[in-house]
Symmetry: C2
Subunit: 374 residues, 2 copies
């Protein structure tokens, strides 16, 4: 080691100390100085596909490593007008019942080089407050799993902010949407149950906050009417466990008897309904009552429940949302598109069913499992 010649490591140490003394961050200028090149050369080294010689690249990267230099995304976004951040608006409730959605979206965005800025809503009405924040933060786009009003959509348009609605519809507006066909799901479930001989339905719907459950209810009611079956008893719910129990109680009170089948707007309500039927009312499910839900949440698959339900292809839907959004952001694709997925029927064991495709058995005596094997 010669004393007269400073190594680059020594220089780096001195520079770092100076920077720390000035209480500022390491910038591309510092790296440039240490590497003996210009600031723009440093900038180019951190831009994939820029034209830099191997020599300078090596020099710059060594200097950057010695200084712990990381480019500042805020400064970069100021000039490139891309923050590589995407806002995700989701209700606390939705995250509670579909926690996998968040992870899926996050993974999908990460895979596309974007980060997720999270906005959770206690109530759907809080959306106004978060929008102001979103504009400030210069996100490149928004995935909204919350109800947006037409005026919100207009504001997105006005600010040229790409947006994808997730499981929310907005009639008469051209917005990118990713949904599951909830109307079809409701119809499918009603069809399968009717085919197995169920005649009198009860429906535990949702409240107005969440259009998904009302779509499902509408589909089921439509199909039931088409089949000429008695009008179902419909009661509202709040998507939670308790609503399932209260809903069943209300339906029985209103009907004066136990219906053949209960269709619940969500699995958690179905599970609440199921537990109440079995453990409080002592009903044999599916012997005396069929119960079905939607979503195939994790507990629906547990041995105690083994719920008859329909699964939304959430991973596919999250991927589609990410894809649509990134197409608008990166390729400036201005066309709007609606991607509609179909739910998958999960037979489970809480509803009496005839095999799919079997001749309809409306009015025929339904299959009863022998009590012995229950």
């Amino acid at each position: 080691m010669s004393k007269s010649k400073l190594t680059v490591e020594d220089e780096a140490g001195a520079l770092k100390a100076a920077i720390a003394a000035e209480n500022r961050r390491v910038t591309s200028y510092d790296v440039a100085q240490l590497a003996g090149v210009s600031q723009s050369a440093v900038s180019r080294c951190f831009k994939p596909g820029a034209s830099v010689s191997r020599g300078t690249y090596a020099l710059v990267m060594k200097a950057a490593a010695l200084l712990d230099y990381i480019p500042n995304a805020a400064a970069r976004s100021l000039i490139t007008r891309r923050s590589h951040m995407v806002a995700l608006i989701i209700t606390s409730q939705a995250n509670l019942y579909y926690p996998e959605l968040l992870a899926e979206v996050s993974q999908q965005m990460t895979a596309r080089g974007k980060r997720v800025l999270l906005f959770t809503l206690q109530r759907e009405a809080d959306v106004d407050r978060v929008l102001a924040d979103i504009w400030q933060y210069q996100v490149d786009g928004v995935i909204a799993a919350a109800r947006l009003s037409p005026s919100h959509i207009a504001e997105f348009d006005r600010r040229r902010m790409p947006v994808v609605l997730f499981n929310r519809q907005l009639r008469d507006h051209t917005v990118n949407t990713v949904t599951c066909d909830h109307l079809e799901s409701g119809r499918m479930l009603a069809s399968r149950l009717a085919a197995a001989g169920h005649r009198q339905f009860g429906i535990i719907a949702g409240n107005d906050d969440y259009s998904v459950a009302s779509e499902r209810q509408r589909g089921a009611c439509e199909r039931i009417a088409e089949l000429g079956l008695p009008a179902p008893v419909v009661v509202p719910g709040a998507y939670d466990y308790r609503s399932g129990a209260l809903g069943l109680k209300a339906i029985i009170a209103q009907l004066g008897s136990v219906p053949d089948a209960i269709i619940c707007g969500s699995d958690v309500m179905a599970i609440g309904c199921l537990d109440y039927a079995r453990h409080e009312l002592g009903l044999d499910v599916p012997g005396q009552l069929s119960v079905a839900g939607f979503d195939a949440v994790e507990p629906s698959n547990w041995i105690s429940y083994n719920l008859t339900t329909l699964r939304q292809p959430l991973p596919k839907m999250a991927a589609a949302a990410a894809e649509l959004l990134c197409a608008r952001i990166d390729q400036h694709d201005t066309g709007t598109e609606r991607r509609v997925f179909s739910a998958q029927f999960i037979e489970g064991a809480t509803a009496r069913l005839t095999p799919a495709g079997a001749p309809a058995a409306i009015g025929a005596p339904s299959l009863r499992l022998p009590v012995a094997i229950m």
Copy 2:
């Protein structure tokens, strides 16, 4: 309406058109021009507590509204060196099992004027990849619900990045942490079960990814040893439903008989264990076997389970994490602190228990519920 005099609205329209034509954003200069003041005046109007006269304030705000002006957070953070963003690192699995955590943290941070930039990990090892992103994005601080190595912590220190560990410990390092006393929880559970006469324990632990479950296991084992009871059979698990069933099977195989009680590292495993015990093995729980978990997740409270478990005060813990982090960010509080919360015992109905505080009944015949009422 006079033709000769342009209203401010007309001017605003023309200005907006010009801006759109140049394909640039509305800036504080545009607002200044429209309001007839300087750009600095506009800036001050958007800074709470700055000295601006009522007149200019009104002028500026009107112009800003007409132009849909919103300050650019990226530019602001460049000079203030505050992004008002906080990174939250969480494993997909943790979000799956404790979805409320995310909403709590998000709400707490929002209440403190900060946004959450989300980083989900498929595996704990992915933490290296996200850290590089975090440095780029100039977040003000980090809440990490993932395992950080000592070298990670060193890097946080080096970059002077405030960090709070959530439910993770790091021995011999001075970091802000918020945890639940999992060791104590494990001890408490073992004590209560032992007091009710359970002698032979099985433990379904976790894998090394998640220190929480091993702490719980250690606490339980410690206490069991202290009480002079037979050594428990410990098998690993992966925190999921299936692990509960497989764990019970393995424990019975290893022991050659059914133990008195199973302690599971998480509720989901406890539920898996419970379902397997009741529905596959036909065991009477808690008559023949007691099962207990940790966390008091939502399904643990459902009628079908009514699990004996311990609840972490997640809302309090999230608030504490937010508070600690914001203290370091906003008040430059450099002291490190460990906030340790106690879990709350939930009696449930899957374990035979004597009332808390009753004399220990080790070795005494345990209470058995008559089979008739099961």
